[in-house]
C-alpha cells in the first residue's frame, strides 16, 4: 500500500441513507477471482439502465462529478454484505475517501485495508456536505482533520493503528507475520 497523507478533491453527493454494499456493487459482479477493474460496475444498477446506457440524472454520471475523489453519502454507508469488492470498486473508480455520519463496521475495516479513507462526521457537518455538492474539501490524515471551504476544520475519528498504516504505507499482514513467535507460543499454551 502507498502512504497517504492528504486527500483534496471536490465532492460528489449521494444523499440516500443506508447505502448497502449490494448497491455499491451488485452480487452478480462478484463472480470474479481478481480485485481489478471493478470500477465499471460501481453502483451498476443506479448508474446504468437495463440496456447498459448511463443514466444521465445519476449523480456520478453528471459532468461536474468527473474527477471527484470524495464521496459524501447519507447515514450508515456500506451496510450489509462483507464484500471487499465494495471498496475495491470505489477505489478503482477513483474515489479516495467516503464521508458519512455513520459508516458500517465491516465496510470501514475493508476500506482502511485498501487505502480508502472512511470519514465519519457529526450530523451538522454531514448535512452541510449533503446540501453543498461539489465543494472542495481537504483531508489531513495525520491530524484527523477534514477541512471545509471557508476554513472550517472538523475532526474525525481514525483508529490509531489504521492511521499509522495509512501514513506509512504499512501492510497489516506484515505486522501480523512479524508476531509469528507469539502466535506459536499461544498455540502451544492456550489451545485445547
Amino acid at each position: 500500500m502507498q502512504p497517504i497523507r492528504h486527500i483534496s478533491s471536490r465532492t460528489v453527493v449521494l444523499p440516500s441513507t443506508n447505502i448497502d454494499t449490494d448497491q455499491i456493487i451488485p452480487a452478480r459482479f462478484l463472480r470474479t477471482t481478481t480485485r481489478d477493474g471493478l470500477g465499471r460496475q460501481l453502483f451498476a444498477d443506479w448508474r446504468y439502465d437495463a440496456d447498459g446506457a448511463l443514466k444521465p440524472e445519476f449523480a456520478l454520471n453528471r459532468p461536474e462529478a468527473a474527477g471527484c475523489a470524495v464521496l459524501v453519502a447519507g447515514r450508515n454507508f456500506g451496510c450489509g454484505s462483507s464484500r471487499e469488492h465494495a471498496p475495491w470498486a470505489l477505489l478503482d473508480y477513483g474515489f479516495r475517501a467516503v464521508i458519512s455520519t455513520e459508516i458500517a463496521d465491516i465496510f470501514r475495516s475493508n476500506s482502511l485495508k485498501n487505502g480508502l479513507l472512511p470519514v465519519q462526521v457529526d450530523d451538522t457537518t454531514g448535512q452541510w456536505l449533503l446540501d453543498h455538492a461539489g465543494v472542495t474539501v481537504s483531508i489531513d490524515i495525520a491530524n484527523r482533520t477534514l477541512l471545509l471551504p471557508e476554513g472550517r476544520a472538523v475532526q474525525f475519528p481514525l483508529e490509531g493503528f489504521a492511521r499509522y498504516c495509512l501514513l506509512n504505507g504499512v501492510d497489516e499482514l506484515g505486522f501480523l507475520l512479524a508476531r509469528g513467535e507469539q502466535i506459536s507460543a499461544y498455540e502451544r499454551g492456550a489451545l485445547q
Binding site: 443506508n18 437495463a50 451496510c79 465491516i106 501480523l176
Partner: protein, 463 residues
C-alpha cells in the same frame, strides 16, 4: 460471555497504539471472497498456517439445479464455473479441506459449520461473509471479515481487532403461535434500526431466547448484521450441548466432558454490565414482514405501511417497491416465493413451511422455490417426505446453496416482481435487478404462496 471469549483469544492484548492480535479457532471459507486472499498467499510465498482449522465449501455461486451438480450438465454461468474451479484448485494447492460440489456434506457455509459440529461454544469463528454472526447462537464469537482479512487468517490464523462494545437484547415472555424466530429478529431490527448495532456485539438474552431451539437461535443470530452488529451471541445451555453431542467434529468421550466443563463457564455472570441494553416483550410480537429496501423497514403482516411525510429516501424506497404509504401489506400480490438461505434453510424451517402447505396448492401464477440449506438438510427432509409435500403443492425442490437470497447463481427474481423470501436482505436488486423482496418467516411465505398474496399465517393455524 463476550469478554471471556475475547480475553481467552488475545495473542497480544490491545494497546492505545495497536489493536489486539486475536486468535481464530475456526475459519470457514467459500468461492466468492477467498480467491483474492489465496492470490496474496501465492504472491508472498506464504502457506495456510492451520489447514486443520480451515474448512471450505461452495455455496454462493453454485447452481441449485441437480443436472448441473450431478447430471454432467455444465454450470450455466461460466464465471460461476471458473470461480468454483479456482476454489478447487486453491484448496488442493494449499491443503485446505473442501466440501466439494458433489459432496453430500456441502451446503451454505453457515448451515454446515453447526451441522458438522465445527461450530462450538467459546470459539472464535470467522468467514468472509457477513452472516457468520449465525455461529454466535452457540456462544461463539463469530463475525464476518473481508477478503484481506481472509488472507490474514490463512497466513497467521490471527486478526488485528479492536474490542467492540456490548449490547444486550433481552426478550421476556413467550412467543405466540405463528410467531417464529424470524419474526423475533425482524422485530428486534425494527426496534433498534439497521445501524443500531454498529460497533457492537449483541448478546440475546431472556426467557424467549432460552426457549428457542438451536436452529431458531441461529435464525436470530444470523440477522445480527442486519442491525449493523458484526456478531450476535446466545449463551450456551442444555439446548446447545444436546444439539452438539455426537456431531462429527464435536468432541467425543473424555474430550466431550472436558469441553462441557469449559462451556459451562461461558455464560455472562449475573449482574454483568453491557454498554447498551434493550428489553422487548416477546408476548406482544406478531408475524412480521418487510415492505421497504432494508430489513429495518418492517411491520406486522397484519399492519399497514407507515407514512413518513417529507422523507425523500423513504419515498424512494416505496417507489422502488411499488407500494403505497398507508396501505395494508396483507393482500399484496406476490409472484415468487423463496424458502431457503442461511437464515431459514434448516430442517425445522422446511418442516414448518411443509406443515402449512400440506394438502394445499400454491396459487396459480406463483413460482415457489424451496432450497435446502445443505445436502444433509435435503437428505433429512426427503427422509421425512417434505420434498413430496413441496412438489405436490407445486413448488420446485432444489439442491442446496444460497440460491435466490443473493441471485448470483442463476436463481433470480425478475424486474418488478414481488418475492416473499425467507432470506435476510431486501436491498434493491438483491434477488435480481429490479426485484422487489418482502422478507418473512417460512410460515408466512408458505401461507402467502397458497393465497398468492401476503397472508398472515395465523389464518391457517386457526383452522
Amino acid at each position: 460471555m463476550f469478554q471471556k471469549i475475547w480475553e481467552q483469544h488475545e495473542v497480544v492484548p490491545e494497546t492505545p497504539e495497536t489493536p489486539a492480535v486475536l486468535y481464530v479457532d475456526r475459519h470457514l471459507t467459500h468461492e466468492v471472497t477467498s480467491p483474492q486472499a489465496f492470490t496474496v498467499l501465492r504472491e508472498r510465498g506464504l502457506k495456510v498456517r492451520r489447514p486443520d482449522r480451515t474448512l471450505a465449501t461452495i455455496d454462493h455461486s453454485s447452481p441449485t439445479r441437480s443436472d448441473q451438480i450431478f447430471g454432467g450438465v455444465p454450470i450455466a454461468i461460466e464465471s460461476a464455473a471458473s470461480q468454483i474451479a479456482q476454489l478447487q484448485k486453491n484448496c488442493a494447492e494449499f491443503g485446505v479441506e473442501l466440501l466439494d460440489l458433489k459432496s453430500d456434506q456441502r451446503g451454505i457455509v453457515h448451515i454446515i459449520g453447526p451441522e458438522f459440529g465445527f461450530t462450538q461454544p467459546g470459539l472464535t469463528i470467522v468467514c468472509g461473509d457477513s452472516h457468520t454472526s449465525t455461529h454466535g447462537a452457540f456462544g461463539a464469537l463469530a463475525f464476518g471479515i473481508g477478503s484481506t482479512e481472509v488472507g490474514h487468517v490463512f497466513a497467521t490464523q490471527c486478526l488485528l481487532q479492536r474490542r467492540p462494545r456490548t449490547f444486550a437484547i433481552t426478550v421476556n415472555g413467550s412467543l405466540s403461535p405463528g410467531v417464529t424466530a424470524k419474526d423475533l429478529i425482524l422485530s428486534i431490527i425494527g426496534e433498534i434500526g439497521i445501524g443500531g448495532g454498529t460497533g457492537c456485539v449483541l448478546e440475546y438474552r431472556g426467557a424467549v431466547m432460552r426457549s428457542l431451539s438451536m436452529e431458531e437461535r441461529m435464525t436470530v443470530c444470523n440477522m445480527s448484521i442486519e442491525a449493523g452488529a458484526r456478531a450476535g451471541m446466545i449463551a450456551p445451555d442444555e439446548t446447545t450441548y444436546s444439539y452438539l453431542k455426537g456431531r462429527p467434529r464435536a468432541p467425543h468421550g473424555d474430550a466431550w466432558e472436558r469441553a462441557l466443563e469449559r462451556w459451562q463457564q461461558l455464560p455472562s455472570d449475573a449482574g454483568a454490565s453491557f454498554d447498551r441494553e434493550v428489553t422487548l416483550d416477546g408476548s406482544k410480537l406478531e408475524p412480521m414482514i418487510t415492505y421497504g429496501t432494508n430489513p429495518g423497514m418492517v411491520i406486522a403482516v397484519s399492519g399497514s405501511i407507515p407514512d413518513r411525510h417529507d422523507d425523500p429516501v423513504f419515498d424512494q424506497a416505496l417507489a422502488y417497491m411499488g407500494l403505497t404509504a398507508g396501505a395494508p401489506i396483507g393482500g399484496q400480490p406476490v409472484n415468487v416465493v423463496f424458502i431457503g438461505s442461511c437464515t431459514n434453510g434448516r430442517l425445522s424451517d422446511l418442516r414448518s413451511a411443509a406443515q402449512l402447505l400440506r394438502g394445499h396448492r400454491i396459487a396459480r401464477g406463483v413460482r415457489a422455490l424451496v432450497v435446502p440449506g445443505s445436502q444433509q438438510v435435503k437428505k433429512a427432509a426427503e427422509a421425512e417426505g417434505l420434498d413430496r409435500i413441496f412438489i405436490a403443492a407445486g413448488a420446485e425442490w432444489r439442491e442446496s446453496g444460497c440460491s435466490m437470497c443473493i441471485g448470483m447463481n442463476g436463481d433470480t427474481v425478475a424486474s418488478g416482481e414481488y418475492s416473499i423470501s425467507t432470506s435476510n436482505r431486501n436491498f434493491e436488486g438483491r434477488q435480481g435487478p429490479g426485484a422487489r423482496t418482502l422478507l418473512a418467516s417460512p410460515l408466512t411465505a408458505a401461507a402467502s404462496a397458497v393465497r398468492g398474496q401476503v397472508t398472515d399465517p395465523r389464518e391457517f393455524l386457526n383452522g
